[in-house]
Symmetry: C3
Amino acid sequence: MSNIPNSAKVGSNVVIEGGVIIGENVVIGHNTVLLEGTQIGDNVEIGSNCVLGIQPRSNQKMRRINKNTRKLIIQNDIKIGHLVSIYLGTIISDNVFIGDHASIRENVSVDTGTVVGRAAIIELNSLIGKDCTIQTLAYVTGDTILEDDVFIGPCVSMSNDKYMGAKEYKLKGPTIKKGAKIGNNSSLLPGIVIGQGTIVGAGSVVTKDLTDNEMFFGVPARKIRS
Amino acid sequence: MSNIPNSAKVGSNVVIEGGVIIGENVVIGHNTVLLEGTQIGDNVEIGSNCVLGIQPRSNQKMRRINKNTRKLIIQNDIKIGHLVSIYLGTIISDNVFIGDHASIRENVSVDTGTVVGRAAIIELNSLIGKDCTIQTLAYVTGDTILEDDVFIGPCVSMSNDKYMGAKEYKLKGPTIKKGAKIGNNSSLLPGIVIGQGTIVGAGSVVTKDLTDNEMFFGVPARKIRS
Amino acid sequence: MSNIPNSAKVGSNVVIEGGVIIGENVVIGHNTVLLEGTQIGDNVEIGSNCVLGIQPRSNQKMRRINKNTRKLIIQNDIKIGHLVSIYLGTIISDNVFIGDHASIRENVSVDTGTVVGRAAIIELNSLIGKDCTIQTLAYVTGDTILEDDVFIGPCVSMSNDKYMGAKEYKLKGPTIKKGAKIGNNSSLLPGIVIGQGTIVGAGSVVTKDLTDNEMFFGVPARKIRS
């Protein structure tokens, strides 16, 4: 058991493994599990039935995992919902909000003020900027870059494997530039770049790079107006 | 700890906060958390690792929450799966079925006989009619209205924010009239109305109001036959 | 409480119901629930807050469930993530990997070496071949057949009910032949057959059977090259 400050409010049946660090004024919901390597700052609220500090693992078909990712850093003034899973090797910055049932993999950085929606998933090695909104059930694939102020609508889908496992390929998710907005349930292909301030309408399929400050829609997505 | 009737069958490590009310013949799975304000009727089955009675919270980017929603009402003859989350301020009516991993937010009403599928999500302020089917992984956004007998296929996506956070806007989800059926993985835009008995084919993007008793398909959805 | 071998590493607050069988060198995370009828082989790792061995249930609108499915068989050398749910009547074969938040229903067979992604869902009566990849948030509907080496991209959606509940109909999911690959967020209609080695581009809607070894894209999906 770790040292838990007197200011912490810890629920029933909470499991806190050795070496976990907990700041001041932290609230931890019932039945939540904090695994070894988890570091929590001040004024953090965590819901019930979460699992934080998960050690990456894989099978032989999946890419080799760097097992040296030893810490999950959760900074200050953060709210984490219920039934959430977050891996080691990741940093969650100040004022981030993470919805219930969300999952964040290893080697991810979520910068200040960003909202990660309910049941949204962020895969490994992705960089999420400041003040982004990643809506409910959105899927941010591995090796994705979101610059600041990006809006990812509900149920947006991304991929990072052009050959769907058929050949060796350096996995690469989308790069979404500052302030771009992706409408709900759109599909983004591997490695595409979406320009700064550009808007993609709901249900579009983005198959190639999109220029800045324009609006696109359709399957495949075409420019509809500047 | 609340008063628990002798007829209740309560699993291991269940957490029941003060003020929770539990009816007759209730089954509660292991490790489930019933937070303050939860009221459960008769003949209700709840799975393991659920979190019920969640207090709404938000950060500064998200809309202000009414913190006066003090009750979660779960009526009678209801089955709730495992790993489910439900908020305060919501009413689940008789004979509703809620699948595993589902999540229902605050100020929602789910009327009698409706099925909420596995991992389906219903956001705040939505009204769900009688005998609806909301299939697996479907996303019902905030401020949505489903009249009775509506069918929402698997992975259907909705949005309620026309400007994707870019300007002030009264959030408004779709209104789906009695008996309408939405095919799997369709996308519905903010504020649209789908007519009574109308059918939307799978994978469509509905960008404007649809008339009653017709069939639509495509991106954007067009009438295909009456 | 069942007999637990000395080689097992069992977390805190784990619930193991009577009649559960556990092999050698098994790791079980904290707060996980193993319900009656669960049988676990050797060298299996299970994360925290899982619920395994769930008894099927339904309400009057859903199809009648065969309540005689009495076992969940988890073979050897299997990794199961956190917050996972799996039903009785299902068999998970050697070397399968199941991601966090995934859910697998009753009467499902997942053959050796297959990866079931994070938050992916496999509904009842589906047969999944060897060495398949079912990516994150993909939805495999009931009565689906995946032959060996099939790739299902992230957020792919399937349906098995042509009339969306409007009339009696023998539910039938897609049949996806050996080595076929389905791009992310595609939608597959009930009962369609996707040919061996065929590729479906991201965001497509597959409305009819597709021949072998070709490539299809669009809404509806059309052949784009051989």
